[in-house]
Amino acid sequence: MYNRKIRGPLVEGNKTLSQISKEILNPMETTPGLWWYIAFGISLIAALFGFYAIYITVSKGIGTWGVNNSVGWGWEIVNFVWWIGIGHAGTAFSIFLLILRQKWRTSINRAAEAMTVIAVMSAALFPALHMGRVWLAFYIFPYPNTRGPLWVNFNSPLFWDFIAITAYLLISISFWYLGMLPDFATIRDRTTSKIKKAIYGFFGMGWTGSSLHWIRYESLSFILGGIAAVLVVSVHSIVSTDFAVGIIPGWHTTLFPPYFVVGAIFSGFAMVMTLMVIVRKIYKLTEYVTDNHMDAIARILVFISLIMGTAYSTEVFIAWYSGNEYEMFTFFRNRITGEYTIQFWGMIICNALVPQLFWIKKVRRSWIGLLLVSLIINLGMWFERFNIVITSLSKDYLPSNWVSYNPTYIEVGVYAGTLGLFAAGVLLFFRYIPIMAISEVKSVVNIGDKKED
């Protein structure tokens, strides 16, 4: 089992249980600093810009974007896949570590899951918006209807996508909410405000902390975790089939499902890291999210980075090995060289090379290093999606159809809007939901202690 002598305590500073409750709930129980209002204001402005862009898109048409006859999908799908990828982290983080009984997840999983839910909601915005007739989006629901009845096309990856994302979002929310039950009850019990008592009491669902509650809580966690574990793998595999099922060079590849899942976990973990570096700094929670925690995430990232590098080289190798002139063109003359070199080499540098810095302990232990590398990975993952979606479409089979693609400010606006929404969501999360699972943290305070003698 876990030996804190060797691997350090999971929670530092010899905390008492009431101290833990107090410290974790501190952000909720005190008025936030000026930084919170400034950050929230900026995210709201970005979100408003996004809403304006959405308004223009819906009222005027997709023509306000930079997409065209050849490149039918632009930034919106790049961003969709990017957000979905980020949305992988939370659940993957909790579930896999839960199943693997890695106790160090306890202080991070709450924030990671919150991030997942907000990111997936941001992601879900794009497939809706990119429809020419978003008001008929309900055609994609498979239900008996009066239109024939007309059924959806069960062969279409977009339909699979819809099902996968909806399922994933529902499970993520349930899992997240379930984890919060004991904490809501704690807040209910601690707060003096009647309104808060009523609200958190409602969400606490009458949790009393009885053994029966705990037994059911644990078993439900495992059941949901088991389902979610499958979904984590399936959702991004299915997103990848949007491309893999396509006939376009650069899309049509069997490598995509694993490559996408690993890539998604990569970007998700990077985003968790970005967030945790900031949270522990601002809320002075370094004793809960210890340097060892960050170190562990960094180690996972460097490992995944190697997988990504392998995947990239496999793709290029197969393009050459297949001898298919269209594939060869896409990889060698439209990515490695050609119009989209910045995106391709950006991807390689950000995802495969820069994370190698995590081999160095100094970098793993420096918050600046962690922040920078995690941001670079997220940029790199955006480049990766750009590479896949746009370079493939811009120059495919018939050279007469080759075009370039440039986004308009409306498309950039929608993206900025989702970033704003994400930031605003995370900031609200800090204020109204305990940023760590108090009960679970308490359970690991003394872990490994008994082995001392």
């Binding site: 048409g61 023509g63 997409v67 006859n69 999908w73 007739r133 062969n155 396509g246 063109f329 018939l398």
Partner: protein, 949 residues
């Protein structure tokens, strides 16, 4: 009292709520009245199309056509198969002419001094003024476009005979004056000959874009392509050598294209003449040899003596005389060039118009009547014309649509659109056609002939006059017993042919010829020679307000909505110019540069027809007008000028390009071979097809079609790239025009486009055209990715789109390897931002009621004209018979002048399309993807061979 509500209260409340909700919900919907006929015309069945034959002639281009009308509205133009002149073919401009009928910029009522007036007052004043001028022995001049209507000519002569001094001058914006004069001087006949390219074995053309704009492409394209069929072993395949400066459609199709500067042409022709003369006489050529090696060419021409053609499109009398000399020397006037059955496309003599403008300027002309011309735009010295116009006592302008000349004359007497008028035409002696109105005049307009009749005090209507003339001139000898029967038959058929006297043997004015042969001009070697040409889309520019034509990309450069200065790649590199950069040519012509592969070094090409200032919202302020740069030299207008300076302004403008990549990148997209290899192996160049067919494997059961499997075959050797199909498709399928900005964003909506590729070097490229439309794949990648099954496969092999179902994910667009699907990025109907022809009620009259107008946000694409398939299937079913081959024709197939496109049932092994699919030249585009397209292409065959004697 109990305070609970009874069942009665509930029912009261319930009733009140329901009824108020019903009242509140029944908002008033817009009322649209369908007004029935009071007396239903017997020939009209709502929902059924009627076809009327008529003649298109705008002063520049002619076609005998059928007009499809629906509920009294003309909606589509189709070629008249009974016409000997153009068969079923049409050009893009003729196809688009139906939209000009519904142009808001048409003139709607007569005006006096630009104030609306009644026809009576206009007529009274004009008649009074005319008689005043006549009594003072003043000169009355009628300045018109070329008129080919024999009855109108008779009427004009009658009209003129009433006055003491009357002059009728015909004026062409694009002049063929030199050919007319050369033939007059050489043979005593001021005519444009007909060229029988199908009879020739060897063709040398110089600066004559006869497949794009010159004389009558719709007449020449079928002759040219039928002469170039590689299957025709006995006759051999026409070999075509073309000399030109700019890259034209004709040059792109030639087997061999030689770049020259315009100033070199005369020397080349003189050398060629001398070489041929020496060759025929068996003597050694001793003259001066130019830059271009002509000995082989001369040998080839001599070898195919009597079966060759030399043509030049240069408007220079001396050049045309030498061309006549060469053809005469080779004996081509027997079979290949016909002076007897000549083409009456143009009659304007440049000298005469110069003379008239000088007379106008000196005040010698007292009355000027103008009909169907726009000299203030297209006459080079338009300022001089305008000042002369002010000096005439009576000025009358008769025009159909708004243009620069409208409003400059005192009286504006708007004429009917040709689809509202009676007319006749004699394009070739003995080949008459009639024009009949297909709709009542939409506005308060009157035909030109009715005006002339009125002003000459003749009370008969033009219709009666026309009938009377036909009865007098053509009825006798027609074989009909009653005139009404003759008239009805001719009107129904649209054409009437009669025999003309056979030709006599020709003799050439040899003294004139030898004088010109022995003259010499200097060849310019420095500076830039600018070639001014007609563009395939807009021609002379008279239809510039037609949005379909404005958005029709040039077949070679593939740009629209602008005119550009085409510059050769090497010049551009030398002067550091890139495409789109504004360059200053000479002192005051600033145009965006366009690097045109194949452009001759030291030359620039600029298209006519742009730069209008008063043509209506579409045509105004697009590009620049280059007519003012045309020089009058040597008795003719010279379509070009010379400049020593070319300056790069370093300003950039973005062109509306519809294709930005020009190379096939070595992919087997257009498969080609040469005639010698074809003769040995008909599938040469198409070896891949057999390989892919032999590897054809599938895990899934192959689709089996029961009755029909529609297919389309496109012969890349016959397709010349004329763009006619593009506009025909646009008219048939209600395809919106999107405007310059959207074309720049690569969002043009055309369902069929003609891809153009270059190979070899940019300096001397080979050019390929490939019409590309939906391939209707049996294994369509677009179908399985649509989440809502909006695109699916019909039981007849059609890849069909249900617009109602489409939610616009664009996944199908992405997954189509041919990228033929189009998306409605905006609402293109009733949207002020796209005010072309789908906003005003007038413009929308052109819409085809059989085809849905698509909403914003849905995907659309070629449907194989499914509405035509259904119509004919239904007809066959009602008549209890099977469909005949060629009964269903898609719009593109019908419009194609070269017959390159063939549509039909692949299940019927006897059908033409099935046979073409079996042709060893047939292949599918990207067949290695196993999409199983229903469109087949036939390989391009170049004629590399020297002519066999």
């Amino acid at each position: 009292m109990k305070k609970s509500s009874s069942r009665r209260d509930f029912l009261k409340l319930f009733g009140f709520t329901i009824s108020s909700a019903a009242i509140a919900a029944s908002c008033k919907r817009p009322v649209q009245n369908a007004i029935p006929y009071v007396i239903q015309p017997p020939e009209i069945t709502p929902g059924k199309s009627l076809f009327y034959s008529t003649s298109y002639f705008d002063g520049h281009e002619y076609s005998s056509i059928l007009v499809k009308t629906r509920d009294g509205r003309p909606i589509k133009i189709e070629g008249n198969a009974l016409s000997l002149f153009n068969k079923e073919g049409t050009t893009a401009r003729v196809q688009a002419s139906v939209l000009s009928l519904y142009d808001d910029a048409r003139l709607k009522y007569p005006t006096i001094d630009n104030i609306q007036a009644s026809w009576t007052s206009v007529d009274d004043q004009i008649i009074k003024k005319l008689s005043e001028i006549n009594s003072e022995a003043g000169e009355i001049v009628l300045l018109s476009s070329t008129i080919i209507s024999p009855t109108t000519i008779k009427l004009i002569n009658e009209f003129g005979a009433r006055f003491n001094k009357f002059r009728w001058v015909q004026y062409d914006a694009f002049s063929y004056s030199a050919i007319l004069e050369a033939n007059l001087q050489c043979f005593g006949k001021s005519v444009i000959p007909d060229y029988h390219f199908n009879n020739a074995g060897f063709l040398v053309s110089l600066n004559a874009d006869f497949l794009g704009t010159w004389i009558s492409p719709v007449h020449f394209i079928p002759k040219y392509t039928s002469g170039r069929k590689p299957e025709n072993r006995e006759k051999g395949m026409l070999r075509h050598v073309h000399f030109e400066s700019g890259m034209t459609l004709t040059g792109s199709n030639a087997d061999k294209r030689i770049k020259i500067r315009p100033s070199e042409e005369k020397q080349i022709l003189i050398e060629l003449y001398n070489r041929i003369e020496a060759g025929i006489n068996g003597s050694e050529f001793t003259g001066i040899s130019g830059r271009v090696n002509l000995s082989e060419l001369a040998d080839n021409l001599i070898a195919s003596r009597g079966k060759s053609i030399v043509v030049s499109g240069t408007n220079n009398v001396e050049i045309q005389i030498i061309v006549n000399g060469i053809n005469f020397l080779l004996g081509n006037y027997t079979d290949c060039i016909d002076l007897n059955r000549h083409i009456n496309i143009a009659a304007g003599i440049d000298n005469k118009i110069e003379e008239l403008v000088n007379d106008l300027d000196s005040g010698k002309v007292n009355a000027l009547l103008m009909y169907n011309i726009n000299p203030l735009y297209d006459y080079p010295a338009s300022d001089k014309f305008l000042s002369g116009l002010g000096k005439a006592g009576l000025t009358v302008n008769m025009s159909c649509s708004l243009n620069e000349t409208v409003g400059k004359a005192k009286y504006e007497c708007p004429v009917n659109h040709y689809l509202e008028s009676w007319n006749d035409a004699e394009i070739i002696p003995g080949q008459l056609s009639l024009g009949q109105p297909c709709i009542n005049p939409l506005f308060d307009t009157r035909s030109f002939q009715d005006s002339l009749l009125k002003w000459s005090g003749n009370m008969v209507s033009w219709h009666d006059y026309l009938m009377a003339n036909w009865e007098k001139e053509y009825f006798t000898g027609s074989g009909f017993s009653v005139f009404s029967k003759f008239w009805d038959t001719s009107l129904g058929k649209g054409v009437f042919d009669y025999n003309i006297a056979e030709k006599k043997t020709l003799s050439i004015n040899s003294e004139l010829l030898s004088r010109i042969i022995n003259s010499s001009d200097s060849v310019k070697t420095d500076g830039f020679e600018v070639v001014i040409y007609e563009s395939v889309s807009l021609g002379t520019g008279m239809h510039v307000n037609n949005p379909w034509l404005m958005e029709l990309p040039d077949p070679v450069s593939r740009h629209c909505w602008d005119n550009v200065a085409a510059i050769s790649p090497s010049d551009a590199e030398r002067l550091n110019i890139i495409t789109g950069q504004l360059i200053k040519i000479g002192d005051n012509l600033v145009l965006p540069a366009f690097i045109q592969p194949g452009q001759a070094e030291g030359t620039l090409s600029v298209a006519l027809g742009y730069g209008h200032t008063n043509s209506g919202p579409v045509g105004n302020n697009i590009g620049l007008n280059v007519y003012p740069f045309i020089e009058f030299k040597g008795g003719t207008r010279n379509y070009g000028f010379v400049t020593d300076t070319l300056e790069n302004t370093n300003k950039q403008s973005e062109l509306a390009l519809t294709q930005v990549h020009n190379s096939m990148e070595g992919r087997p997209i257009v498969r080609e071979t040469v005639l010698s290899k074809y003769r040995n192996n008909p599938s040469s160049g198409n070896e891949l097809h057999e390989e892919y067919e032999s590897k054809h494997r599938t895990l899934y059961p192959e689709v089996n079609y029961d009755g029909f499997h529609w297919g389309l075959s496109i012969d890349l050797n016959a397709c010349v790239g004329c763009n006619s199909c593009v506009i025909a498709c646009q008219a048939e399928n209600n395809i919106p025009v999107v405007g310059k900005e959207e074309v720049r964003k690569r969002r043009i909506m055309h369902w069929i486009k003609i891809d153009r590729y270059y190979s070899d070097t940019p300096d001397d490229p080979k050019v390929y055209f490939q019409p590309l439309t939906c391939q209707h794949c049996d294994n369509a990648p677009c179908e399985n990715v649509c989440p809502v099954s909006a695109t699916n496969h019909s039981s007849e092999g059609l890849n069909q789109m249900s617009y109602n179902r489409c939610i616009g994910t664009k996944y199908c667009i992405n997954n189509c390897p041919y990228k033929v699907r189009r998306f409605n990025w905006f609402r293109y109907t009733n949207n002020k931002a796209f005010d072309f022809n789908t906003v005003s009620d007038l413009g929308k009259m052109v819409l085809n009621p059989d085809v849905t107008v698509r909403e914003r946000g849905v995907v659309e694409k070629c449907s194989f004209c499914v509405q035509r398939i259904q119509e004919k299937k239904l007809q066959a079913k009602l008549e209890n018979r099977t469909l005949k081959d060629f009964e269903i024709k898609t719009a593109c197939m019908q419009a194609c002048p070269s017959g390159a496109i063939v549509f039909g049932n692949l299940k019927d092994k006897e059908s033409k399309v099935s046979q073409l699919f079996e042709n060893p030249r047939s292949y599918h585009l990207l067949e290695e993807l196993h999409t199983l397209p229903s469109v087949g292409y036939l390989t391009k065959v170049w004629n590399d061979e020297e002519i066999e004697s």
